[in-house]
């Protein structure tokens, strides 16, 4: 009896897929009046669909669209106010391609098995929200980007979750873009800005990518409250600004990266109130110009606080956990300068092979000598007003009794052995 019911259920389930898949999406789109809303029933649909007018496409739980061939699932050409929401998409090359759209909204989409997730060009007023995308495990050069946006204006990307792609969010020649609450992991770059302006990035979490933020030839940048963690590859950075102008990076947590933040050929960069923790190198500057400054940051547990070429950049009012000076005047500022400059750091900038020696015994000794010698020099990478600890993160240390007991046991046993060996 149960078997019979089971097979009937199975049959229904199978039927439901095929039955709903008979719904002709393209026909519905073509028939719809501008501004109409089309609800696509659950089921799997195969095909390539073209949108050219004002329309809303809404899926429900279980709506899944699969592209045929190399054409995308949705190609949106021109038109205004196009909304696509609540569905799963897979396209071989791209899931969605949108060109020349004014008012594009993409919401609650789940994209898989696609080279590139969403490709947008020459569009305006774009709002992308809640996109889930997972790529594959092949090398970055064989994969596409999660979201790629070219030559557009007024774009918001938020609450996306992107994994295993080339660049999570690739932005090229875009004016006015806000990227917030996104999460990109195990990809090449978390977010890659090129030739863009008026760029804002808030509350994003990027982990285990090659580089968190890659910002190139972009100006007017505001990066705040982001978490950039575990970028530990051979050429990794938490954030790299190349040829960037006028950027403010503040209140970010930059933790456990090969290089925390690197500035190259950049102008007018303010790095304020960030938390740099446990990076191999916290800050790097090469050919930095025009009033670039790192201030009020907290440097804890980094192997190398800062390295730069001769040009350097300004360090002022930061807290350094390896600062050894004292504050006799009791004004919260250390009485002797903090010296971040080290010969090793400079060599490493010039010749990458030197990285082999990072934190090796010889270099540790050399660096502490450097700090003694350079104390009198008022050169670059010297903070003359180092801050002393203001607010310590107090974590409760609960005694680990198991470990304590094992430790004591080992000590007493070995002591007893020693004693016995002597007598």
């Amino acid at each position: 009896m149960m078997k019979k019911v089971g097979s009937v259920l199975l049959f229904l389930l199978f039927m439901s897929q095929t039955v709903y898949a008979d719904f002709d999406i393209q026909k519905a789109i073509d028939r719809a009046k501008p501004g109409a809303t089309i609800t696509i029933p659950a089921g799997q649909y195969k095909g390539n669909f073209v949108l050219t007018k004002k329309i809303t496409l809404r899926g429900i739980q279980g709506t899944e669209l699969v592209a045929l061939g190399n054409e995308p699932v949705f190609r949106i050409d021109g038109g205004s106010t196009v909304t696509i929401e609540n569905m799963a998409l897979s396209g071989n090359k791209q899931a969605i391609v949108a060109s020349d759209v004014d008012g594009l909204e993409l919401r609650n989409l789940n994209i898989k098995d696609s080279h590139t997730g969403v490709y947008i060009q020459r569009s305006k007023n774009v709002h992308i929200q809640h996109i889930e995308m997972t790529g594959n495990n092949s090398h970055f050069s064989k994969k596409g980007n999660g979201l790629a946006i070219f030559k557009s204006e007024d774009v918001v990307v938020e609450d996306t979750n992107i994994k295993l792609v080339q660049d999570g969010i690739y932005v090229e020649e875009v004016k006015n873009i806000l990227v917030q609450n996104n999460r990109v992991t195990n990809s090449r770059y978390g977010t890659h800005f090129m030739y863009s302006s008026n760029v804002q990035a808030f509350h994003n979490t990027y982990r285990n990518n090659v580089t968190g933020f890659m910002v190139m030839m972009t100006n007017d940048i505001y990066v705040k409250d982001n978490h950039l963690e575990n970028h530990n590859g051979l050429n990794s950075y938490g954030m790299l600004l190349y040829d960037a102008q006028q950027a403010v990076l503040e209140l970010n947590t930059i933790m456990n990266n090969r290089t925390g933040v690197a500035l190259q050929k950049s102008v007018g960069i303010t790095i304020a109130s960030n938390d740099f923790r446990m990076n191999q190198t916290a800050l790097e500057g090469i050919m930095v110009k025009g009033n670039s400054v790192a201030t009020n940051n907290q440097f804890t547990g980094n192997i190398l606080t800062a390295r730069a070429d001769r040009q350097g950049f300004l360090l002022t009012n930061n807290y350094y956990d390896d600062y050894s000076g004292i504050d006799l005047k009791n004004d919260g500022i250390g009485d002797v300068p903090y010296v971040a400059v080290s010969s090793f750091g400079q060599w490493m900038v010039r010749q990458p092979v030197y990285q082999y020696f990072v934190a090796s015994p010889s270099v540790v000794l050399l660096t502490s000598l450097d700090q003694q010698i350079n104390k009198t020099e008022k050169t670059v990478l010297v903070d003359v007003t180092p801050k002393l600890m203001t607010h310590q993160i107090t974590k409760k240390n609960e005694t680990n009794f198991q470990q304590l007991l094992i430790g004591l046991l080992i000590v007493t046993t070995s002591m007893w052995l020693w004693k016995r060996g002597v007598s």
Binding site: R258, I303, V358
Partner: protein, 269 residues
């Protein structure tokens, strides 16, 4: 015979004031640095200043103590005529060397165990400390390699003082001078030459060999930089592991063999 000699040597070594002092000093410094770092910094996987200082304390202190004490104990035997006395017993030169080596290794393993135990106890009291297996293995490797070198230095030295100074020279050479020389060469030669020289130095400098081993076996080879990608990838393969084992084995046996030869040549019998 051999085990009796081992016991005798071990007893002598553990009894010496030097050794006890070193044991205390090592435990104290090691514990202080580890616990301070542990308390000050959040717990993070990967290569951090904490692991770096762990590694450096190990590489700085342990070889220094092993080389000086090990070599002085051999040189002292010869200087004081104890070795000649031992030769009157039915015992071969090789037996003496192996016995001495084993005694040194055992004594220092005991020191290291005391230090690790203290770190565990104090760390546990303050909220838990991590002592990765790679570190423990590396410490043991450090002891077995440098004890062998110490015996060789002792065999070459005429007096205890000479042994001491030779150990210091060799220590500074391995830990500091070789790296500085390499860095200095690096400022004039091309990057690919510096890279190749560094690879050579990794193999001919036991301190670098251990450091390199740490990065390989803790899966953090990327710390060494892209220039060493090929080398680290090789050593991360199974053949690489075998080669690592062979080179390590050579670092243990070659100094002992040369000590044997030297004692024979000097005919201190």
């Amino acid at each position: 015979m051999n085990s009796m000699l081992l016991k005798l040597e071990l007893k002598q070594m553990l009894r010496s004031r030097w050794m006890q002092l070193v044991g205390m000093l090592f435990t104290f410094i090691f514990t202080a640095i580890i616990v301070i770092q542990q308390m000050a910094l959040p717990d993070v996987e990967g290569f951090t200043r904490q692991t770096a200082s762990f590694l450096n304390v190990l590489l700085f202190l342990l070889p220094l103590f092993i080389l000086t004490i090990g070599s002085m104990s051999v040189a002292g035997d010869i200087e004081s005529g104890w070795f000649s006395l031992l030769k009157t017993y039915p015992m071969t030169r090789a037996q003496y060397i192996v016995g001495k080596y084993m005694a040194t290794v055992c004594a220092f393993i005991l020191v290291v165990v005391v230090a690790f135990g203290t770190v565990l106890a104090l760390g546990g009291f303050l909220g838990g400390v991590r002592l990765p297996l790679v570190f423990i293995t590396l410490t043991l490797l450090c002891v077995v390699i440098f004890a062998s070198l110490a015996i060789a230095i002792g065999a070459f030295a005429q007096t205890r003082l000479f042994a001491l100074s030779q150990s210091l020279v060799l220590w500074s050479f391995f830990l500091l001078l070789l790296s500085y020389a390499l860095m200095a060469i690096g400022t004039v030669v091309a990057g690919h030459i510096l890279q190749k020289l560094t690879v050579i130095v990794i193999h001919i400098n036991p301190a670098e060999w251990l450091r390199f081993g740490y990065f390989i076996f803790s899966d953090q080879a990327s710390v060494l930089g892209p220039a060493f990608y090929g080398v680290t990838r090789f050593y991360s393969s199974y053949i690489g592991y075998v080669v690592y084992g062979i080179v390590t084995f050579l670092w243990i046996t070659l100094p002992l063999l040369s000590a044997n030869k030297q004692l024979q040549k000097r005919g201190v019998c």
